[in-house]
Symmetry: C2
Subunit: 549 residues, 2 copies
Amino acid sequence: MRIDFATEPARYRHWRLKCEGPLAWLTLDVDPSGGLFPGTELKLNSYDLGVDIELADAVQRLRFEHPEVRCVVIRSGKDNVFCAGANIGALAQASHGHKVNFCKFTNETRLALEDASEHSGQRYLAAVNGTAAGGGYELALAGDWIMLIDDRRSAVALPEVPLLGVLPGTGGLTRVTDKRRVRRDLADMFCATEEGARGRRALDWRLVDEVVPPSSWEEKLRERALALAAGSDRPADATGIALPPLDRQIEADRITYPHLRVALDRERRIAEIMVLGPSELPADLAGIHSVGTDFWPLAMARELDDAILHLRLNEPELGIILFRSEGDPAAVLAADALLETHADDWLVREIRLYLKRVFKRIDLTARSLFALIEPGSCFAGVLAELVFAADRTFMFSGTRSGENRGPATLILSSLNFGAYPMSNGLSRLETRFLGEPDTLEQTQKAICKPLDAEAAAELGLVTAAYDEVDWDEEVRLALEERASFSPDALTGLEANLRFAGPETMETKIFGRLTAWQNWIFSRPNAAAETSALKRYGSGLRPSFDPERT
Amino acid sequence: MRIDFATEPARYRHWRLKCEGPLAWLTLDVDPSGGLFPGTELKLNSYDLGVDIELADAVQRLRFEHPEVRCVVIRSGKDNVFCAGANIGALAQASHGHKVNFCKFTNETRLALEDASEHSGQRYLAAVNGTAAGGGYELALAGDWIMLIDDRRSAVALPEVPLLGVLPGTGGLTRVTDKRRVRRDLADMFCATEEGARGRRALDWRLVDEVVPPSSWEEKLRERALALAAGSDRPADATGIALPPLDRQIEADRITYPHLRVALDRERRIAEIMVLGPSELPADLAGIHSVGTDFWPLAMARELDDAILHLRLNEPELGIILFRSEGDPAAVLAADALLETHADDWLVREIRLYLKRVFKRIDLTARSLFALIEPGSCFAGVLAELVFAADRTFMFSGTRSGENRGPATLILSSLNFGAYPMSNGLSRLETRFLGEPDTLEQTQKAICKPLDAEAAAELGLVTAAYDEVDWDEEVRLALEERASFSPDALTGLEANLRFAGPETMETKIFGRLTAWQNWIFSRPNAAAETSALKRYGSGLRPSFDPERT
């Protein structure tokens, strides 16, 4: 079954989105029979990947289609329950790979909420009008403010450890200690208590920001949402741009978009992503708004995002993603110039922030990333980020005989120096040259200069340069070698080498928390038939191997 | 088979230690037939846990017994090979728990080298006089300076991914990116190349600090060692103190030391560590030097360290460590006062640094840590660190009927505010009150004041206070509940909750790198009979499930 990340509000089965001036109301009302996999019943507003795909879509649309929205309220459409977290039945029957990729995507969605709040003036208010457990509370934790209804019944809880023998792995543990800075022994108590914390205790332990009795709930909710909205810098009377469905053709061994061609080579386990440079660009800001999603950087970002997610979930055996590009580098730089000149415009800001998130998603994709810079390619500015996201980049030196294309070039723009930080908070170039501040400075002097293979290699911007004599063989050998390694060892290797330098809450979530969760998921105590995860709801008690590791 | 961490130079089978004025020569010459487990042959200076236990002992003795040593040279006693890393045969046949704890201990030993260099004026020079592969290169990476012999043959290498399908998990990946700051694509190439890097390339990629031809090797080595020694602040004519064997009695269900009683309750899966406060203390600095290892803080630290290591490796099913104490809190504070007054003395500095490392080892122990503060206990100053290292602490309120002991007290000393930082660089109290700077300030005002249960709970220093009516039942329930949870989930929970706030290279090693390595170790691609790890040396090619996760 192919998992599709494309959706739109009219097709939502689990969420309702209502905009009302500066406020948006995002209501979770899961259709129990609308699970992604047949046979699972999504009771009590529990979710599977399908529910989160809709949330991610809504969060994305709110940014682009609703510049007027300054605060988004997430609430439940059901009585007494906000959200019961990930659906255990769906989780227990999922493959290890699906579990891991499901958690990764939900983590990215929650971080997208925080990104909207921090960078885009769209704050999130979690209106916990019923119990929020596990992933349900983790969703609330991604908000700026958590309001809990004080009805003597509703609680926030992270019952994963006592109930299921796994972790609150969607950022929960990290946000409890590092965002809300809950005292560690209280966090320990909280995470060991199935029923969680209600009312006053939830407030005292800093698990929520406010407890409100049912009688004043609606009034306080609106008041708080408007207060959050008041601090926003979103424009007053802008018009959003619509995000229409992607023009996408999926075939057995290729996926075609207007600006992206994905070729699936199953034998060599390679997904080649060919990015096509812009063919035409608007002249000015009005033009950008007028073409909307047809503006090349945005169109390309949407297609790239979709392709990466497709590969993650639907093509787990394609272990290598090979980035190539084709087009006019000058046109890519012209697009960058538009993104830079109009950086203060709300839509341009959104496009840049979206590009940042797409590149982060690539950094966090558990596939080996290679980039090839060849005659005819257009790795400049924004597309050069793919070169720096890659684990290795090879560049063609000189020209190819029989072609009338000039030599390959790599061109930096000022946007490579901070517009698209990685999750460690540094640009890819800063991370790359952590040990060579002088080289970083040198590369800054090369902005807008077409660098040939020798110059790029000299500056440390590519891994190796090969001329026509060696190119095919060297590239073939590197890819074959990569495909021969243990896929798990590569995942671990890349997760370590890609993120040098400082750590942030985000890198802690994807490094520390995710790695531990993956370990736990793969252990017999979580994967065996006698595990808590498998026995949940059966009435049978789990049985554990008592050895601590 | 019980693994014993106590050893001494006369019993070493794999290392030779020779001191020569300001230099020490630590020579690795592994006895192939001296493996910890029968049937493994430690060829090519490959190591198992037994080899690392000797190294840890030597590093420790150098600090206490040899104040005159300012630079330690680690080199190989074999031709053409420095160290081939962890012995694959031993690793492949080890249980998952042993693998993980072996890696943890070797990580701690390598960090102890760096600690000696940074804080104790004892620098480490890795004299790589033959190929250093895998754990062998990781050992060199822990040094201040890596000299590689330029004999056209000797290389440094991290061949784990291509050869074994696991990670360089003893800090290698983290030190390559974060200590040596190797460019990520070069690090990727390096970690994918079985044969590693030699000579000029090793230097250009910053994998070593110096390459030296064989003809000038000995001369340059001594020159470099003396240069490193020159920067040291170790005392000129101090006399070391001997570290005699621990007075220790191991029985079926208890271990007895002079200042520590460990009771093993297998049914409830609890190891209770009762720490006994000092009975007598020297009056001054001369007295401290004169009693040497009998000085209570040092004696207690050595016993605690030994007990923790014993529990880690030999008692994996005891999932809870319960800290208790007995003695006079005033005497503990008097010991603290000595440690503070004489902080500038080299031996006192060593004792404080050792206490720091023991507490870090406790933080990193994958067992649930509980502390009980009761009438008669002496959790003050240095022992209060155990309270703050614990996942939860319960404190007895009031007195016990039928006892003539006064109420329990908790007393802080100034040493709780920075003398023993965790691996995140913060004190346990700073980490605890990350979200409450005001509370941290309040606790500072309470230094030296005996806090009863109510006061300690009010300040957030303990998790809960119970009086006689509830104590037994509450403590019993908490311990029983803990023992019922999934051991793996608890390991992940504690590894996340204990380390709020900033990350360091050290926390990255134990959080990110270790978690990924544990995951990989537990995956079929590493654990199955067809894995690279199991098939290493058999001539058979490994076979992998190609799915990326």
